[in-house]
Each structure stands twice: as structure tokens, then as C-alpha cells.
């Protein structure tokens, strides 16, 4: 079933424009057997290919229990994503995957979970948030800390509001540049960490976003006394193959596509933040 080398066709079932630069595609494998057998974990990704143009690594954001489809939320950043943006329901893309190691769900069971993210719509983290909330009873306190540059950059605003109201989740948002109707904090996401009542011995942290943001957050968490093995982060690198062969995504001895994209900070510590890795 799992053949990493050649894409399989998937049809776009639905398309949602999330923000001026972010859109979501709901996909189904053309081959229904393949669709039924498709299994993945939150934090894993697919290589999505656009006919004649190229391929990009995109996180899978729906719940692994949805067996009839899979969702990708895509930000327009380059040639391939620009092309994907134009696709409409009924159009086809190529899919290879799922690839990589996802979030440490088992380790998080029964624990408090602190999720820290920055930048525009960090898809890998959204997938795990949805996963946790759908199984809310299995986890302790859940804190979601999200930072954006500008208040207008926040996508899924209603979703954050719903998460905090309906699921007993502590949602803290910060914008470098706040707007008039921004009810949350102005500043950096790292400033939010101090507002959380962390139960260190039973907290696991998951981070995703710009590396500078993650570096700052990790420094702060370690200073607060959180152990390195309780800090997890999702990495992004140039990817061509997705299964540890083309060599592009390496960070030190790690293949981000195969050993990650989710890493435990203790695995990456020597290289994370070192320029050129």
C-alpha cells in the first residue's frame, strides 16, 4: 500500500479560502480502496504535486479518524502553492505520503499540554489541537498560545474563541501590532508564557512556527525549569523526496522528513538555531 515513489491521484472535493493567502483543500484519493486504507497521525505530511509544476510538503490537518477524505491547509508562498491556489473542486493533484513522525500523542496522554505557535496559520499545530480537543478527556489542562505579527493575520479567529469557550482551553493570543478590536495582548508570544500557570512536572509542550520564535520560547521554557525531553517542535526544511533519501531536509544527522518533522528538543539541541543547519 505505502509506495513513496510515485504519486497517486486525489480529487479536490472542497475548497475554502481561509484568508487572502491561505486556503484549505479537502481531498479524496481517486482510488477508493487507497482512500479507505489511508492512515496518518497528526503532524505527518503529504507531498502534494501539481501537474507539470512541482511538489510541496504539506501537513495533514484533519482528524485521523476521518477515513473518507483528508485536508490540507496551504499558504501561498511559491510557484507550486500559487498554482495549487487556482485549483477548484473536481481538479486533481498527486499525493505521496503520509510521511514523517507526528506529534507525541502517547506521551501527552494524561498530561497538561502547552501549545505555542507564531506566524501565519501553523498547520501542523492546528492538526494536533483538533486532535486533542476531540479527545478532551484524555488530557489535563490545555493552553494554546498564538502570536501573530498583525492582528489581521489571525485566521480561524472564531475557532480560537470557540476553543476557549467550549473546551475548557486556555487560549492566549498576542499580536505585535494590535488593532482596535483586538481583545488580547499586544506583544510577543513569548510574553504569554509567563501568564500560564505551568504544572512543570506534568506538562508537555508542542511548538510550531518561525524558528526565532521557537528558539525564544524554548529558552524561556527551559529557564522556567521544563525538561528538554518535554519540549517538542515541528520543523520545516526544503523537501524533495519525503522519505529520507534526497538529502535536502537534513539538520545535522537528522532527516526532517523521516526522523521529524516533529522532533524532541533534546534530539535537535546541538543544531537548532545554529545558522546554516
Amino acid at each position: 500500500m505505502f509506495d513513496p515513489h510515485v504519486p497517486h491521484l486525489a480529487i479536490i472535493d472542497k475548497r475554502v479560502q481561509e484568508s487572502p493567502t491561505i486556503f484549505s483543500l479537502r481531498l479524496q484519493y481517486e482510488d477508493t480502496d487507497r482512500q479507505e486504507a489511508f492512515e496518518f497521525a497528526p503532524g505527518q505530511f503529504n507531498m502534494v504535486s501539481l501537474f507539470g509544476v512541482g511538489e510541496v510538503a504539506i501537513s495533514i490537518v484533519n482528524d485521523p479518524e476521518d477515513s473518507h477524505f483528508f485536508d490540507h491547509t496551504i499558504r501561498v508562498v511559491g510557484r507550486v502553492t500559487k498554482g495549487l491556489e487556482k485549483l477548484q473542486p473536481g481538479d486533481r493533484v498527486g499525493i505521496r505520503g503520509p510521511f514523517g513522525r507526528g506529534w507525541p500523542i502517547d506521551e501527552a496522554m494524561g498530561q497538561d499540554v502547552l501549545l505555542v505557535t507564531g506566524g501565519l496559520g501553523c498547520a501542523p499545530l492546528v492538526s494536533v489541537i483538533r486532535y486533542l480537543l476531540r479527545r478532551r478527556d484524555h488530557f489535563g489542562h490545555i493552553h494554546i498560545l498564538q502570536g501573530v505579527k498583525h492582528a489581521d493575520d489571525l485566521i480561524w479567529r472564531e475557532q480560537y474563541e470557540a476553543w476557549s469557550k467550549d473546551h475548557g482551553v486556555n487560549v492566549l493570543l498576542a499580536a505585535d501590532v494590535a488593532s482596535r478590536d483586538w481583545p488580547w495582548q499586544q506583544g510577543l508570544v513569548t510574553e504569554l508564557i509567563n501568564q500560564v500557570n505551568l504544572r512543570l512536572e506534568r506538562t508537555i509542550t508542542m511548538l510550531c512556527g518561525p524558528e526565532m520564535m521557537m528558539l525564544a520560547a524554548i529558552a524561556q521554557l527551559r529557564e522556567l525549569g521544563l525538561a528538554d525531553h518535554k519540549i517538542w517542535l515541528s520543523m520545516e526544511r526544503n523537501m524533495h523526496c519525503g522519505y529520507g533519501q534526497c538529502g535536502h531536509c537534513q539538520v545535522g544527522p537528522h532527516f526532517v522528513c523521516k526522523d521529524g518533522p516533529v522532533f524532541c528538543y533534546s534530539e535537535l539541541a546541538d543544531f537548532f538555531g545554529a545558522k546554516g543547519f
Partner: protein
């Protein structure tokens, strides 16, 4: 260094090698052998021993490769040219899949290479060691590369001991040569007059059974052992042991990387001649009619500008970072990924570097000359 495989060689005359060649050809094998072409040893289809580089030697120095004619009959007294096995299994460029737009939608088809049984004559210990690492990489249990495997399965490898080293060779220090030690089907040791030959796999055995063999004499066996010992003793370059090499990761801030960036052209010659480098990229080529496209896989290099491209920036924009990526990955990262360093001591990256950068020298400086962190 003595022979390390369990070889039981027999003697054949130089011309008996032609018999082996004839047999392979008539059995439908493509025979690839060393030839002198454009001033270097290059592997080409051959069917006659006269095509081999008789009496040729190679002078290799940093940024320097020349063939020189000596006055003897030896066919394998050179060491290597820029390439041998890597392009035979891991193609420099190939179509991996094709896409077609049809009435009803689209189709995707895997494109497999046409292969045929191929015998490669005169492969060295370092290249066999490198092939073993490439096998480990491309034939990983969870994702064997079908293109690589299809080609690899067709290879019959005829190895030869190195009786002399090039000035750039340092395989003795990496433990990968100069004597053959596994990974081949038929082994050869060239003597002043003829060869010792032995089989090293079930696949190799039938080919040599009917050759006109004579039991090897003690003198011939001694000559064989002495040759590889001489070759090892002739090597002046070396790499530190693997444990020491992992310390490169503690030298990421060494000023020598910046110094290197002033000399290195980021041309990628070193990575393309290196028999273990495995980076590749995919490119999508659309036909002019617009209704079909091919996805082409080509060798890439960590020295290329696009290798670390991330949409709006490059992770490694500086040449210092690229050289450091290459050297630390090859010598340290590889150990974690493959259980051994990625360098087999062939010295090609030294000879074929247009500005003569010597990996062994750079590594010595970075590991031994203080920390000089910047």
C-alpha cells in the same frame, strides 16, 4: 595491508582475462571497463583487453589529474577516474514518473529504466565500500528505490586490488582499501605477469570455473600481499578515526570554515565525483503540448544554491555553511545515519577540486588547531 577477505586465488595468464570477457559478452552482458578517454580513466563498453589502459599510471594531486604512460603491460596500475559505480546504479538524471492529462482526468505512470546484465571490470576496494553505503541508503527496508534496485540487481562486479596508490588516496586510514574486502563477485590481483583470480560470490563462481587456471604459487601469493601492503604504505594522507571525526560537530564555529569560503567555488565537483554522495532533486518538465509532463530526478549537491532553499531564503546561503554541511555530514552525520563515516578515502574530491582543496588537510586543521572560534 594484507588481503582481508577469505580469498583462495588461482593463477591465470593476462590473456585468459580475454576469455572471461568473451564469455560475458556472449552471455549477453554489457561489459564496462576502464579506458583512457579525454585524459582520464572512464568506464566504457568494452569487448577486448586491448581497449584497457595498458601501462597507464595516474598522477593525482590536489586539483590535478594526469595519465602517464609507463613501460609495462599492467592493465590496472592506475587507481580511478572521476566515476565508476555510482552513476551505474544511481543515475545522474532519469525520469521517475510521467503524468498525462486525459479526457477523464489524469494518469500517473512510474517510469522504470531499461536494464541489462552488466559486468564492471576493475572495480577498487574504495568504490565497493562506497557502493555498500549507497546500497544501505537506496535499498533501505522501508523504502527501497525501485530505479536503483533495478540497476543494482544487474551488476556483476569484478574487483581488483590496488597495487599502487595515487598521491590523493587515503583508503588505508578509513579502512576501505587498498585490498579488496567484500562486495564483489570476482576478485583479481594483478601480478607482474598475469593475475590471481578468485570468486567471492555464488554469482561469480560459474564465470571463472572454466578458465585456464593454475594453482597459485607461494611466490605469487606473496607478490599479491606485498602489492597491497606497498600501496597502503605509499599513502601519505589520512583521516582521523571516526570517533575523532564526530568532534567536527563541536567545531561549527571554527574560523577555517570562513577561510574555506574564500577558496571554495561552490561548484559541486567534489559531491559529484564522491562515490557516496546521494543528494538528488526532482524537477517537473511539461511537454510543449501541455498535456503531459515528466518528473526528472537529477543528482543535486549541498553546494548548489537551491539545495537549502526555503521559499524566501536559503538555510545555507554562505559557502562556509555549505562546505561545513558537506564535511560534517560526510564525516560525522553519516556515522549516525549509516553506522560509519561517509568517506571511503578515494581522494577524488581532492583531485577533482578545481582549486585543490584537500579534505584531509581541512579536517586536520579544524580538529587540531585550537578552536579559533569566530
Amino acid at each position: 595491508m594484507p588481503a582481508r577477505d577469505n580469498r583462495r586465488p588461482a593463477y591465470i595468464s593476462r590473456s585468459s582475462l580475454q576469455t572471461l570477457l568473451d564469455r560475458l559478452v556472449s552471455a549477453g552482458y554489457a561489459c564496462l571497463g576502464p579506458t583512457a578517454k579525454d585524459g582520464a580513466i572512464q568506464y566504457q563498453p568494452i569487448n577486448n583487453l586491448n581497449q584497457l589502459p595498458r601501462g597507464l599510471r595516474n598522477d593525482q594531486e590536489p586539483g590535478h589529474y594526469r595519465l602517464r604512460q609507463a613501460d609495462d603491460e599492467r592493465l590496472f596500475a592506475w587507481n580511478h577516474g572521476p566515476q565508476v559505480l555510482k552513476p551505474l546504479c544511481f543515475a545522474p538524471q532519469e525520469v521517475v514518473w510521467q503524468e498525462r492529462q486525459t479526457e477523464s482526468g489524469m494518469s500517473v505512470k512510474q517510469s522504470m529504466p531499461a536494464t541489462k546484465p552488466t559486468a564492471v571490470i576493475g572495480v577498487r576496494a574504495c568504490d565497493l565500500a562506497a557502493l555498500k553505503i549507497q546500497d544501505q541508503h537506496f535499498m533501505r527496508k522501508d523504502s527501497t528505490d525501485p530505479h536503483y534496485q533495478a540497476r543494482r540487481d544487474q551488476l556483476l562486479l569484478i574487483g581488483v586490488d590496488c597495487a599502487e596508490s595515487a598521491q590523493t588516496c587515503f583508503c588505508a586510514s578509513t579502512g576501505d582499501g587498498p585490498a579488496l574486502d567484500g562486495g564483489f563477485d570476482i576478485g583479481l590481483a594483478e601480478l607482474a605477469d598475469g593475475f590471481l583470480i578468485w570468486t567471492a560470490s555464488a554469482r561469480g563462481t560459474p564465470w571463472i570455473e572454466e578458465l585456464d587456471q593454475q594453482p597459485a604459487t607461494d611466490d605469487q601469493l606473496a607478490e599479491m600481499l606485498q602489492a597491497t601492503e606497498n600501496a597502503a604504505a605509499g599513502q601519505s594522507r589520512h583521516l582521523p578515526n571516526e570517533k575523532k571525526l564526530t568532534q567536527l560537530y563541536q567545531r561549527l564555529g571554527h574560523s577555517r570554515w570562513l577561510d574555506l569560503s574564500k577558496r571554495c567555488l561552490s561548484c559541486g565537483n567534489c559531491t559529484s565525483v564522491c562515490p557516496t554522495c546521494f543528494c538528488y532533486s526532482y524537477e517537473h518538465h511539461t511537454a510543449i503540448t501541455g498535456d503531459s509532463a515528466e518528473v526528472v530526478r537529477s543528482w543535486d549537491s549541498c553546494f548548489s544554491a537551491t539545495h537549502s532553499e526555503m521559499g524566501s531564503f536559503q538555510v545555507r546561503s554562505g559557502i562556509d555553511q555549505r562546505y561545513r554541511q558537506w564535511a560534517t555530514h560526510k564525516l560525522a552525520g553519516w556515522q549516525e545515519q549509516f553506522g560509519r563515516s561517509g568517506c571511503v578515502g578515494c581522494g577524488r574530491c581532492i583531485s577533482w577540486c578545481p582549486v585543490g582543496i584537500d579534505l584531509t588537510e581541512e579536517v586536520q586543521v579544524i580538529l587540531n588547531e585550537g578552536s579559533r572560534d569566530v
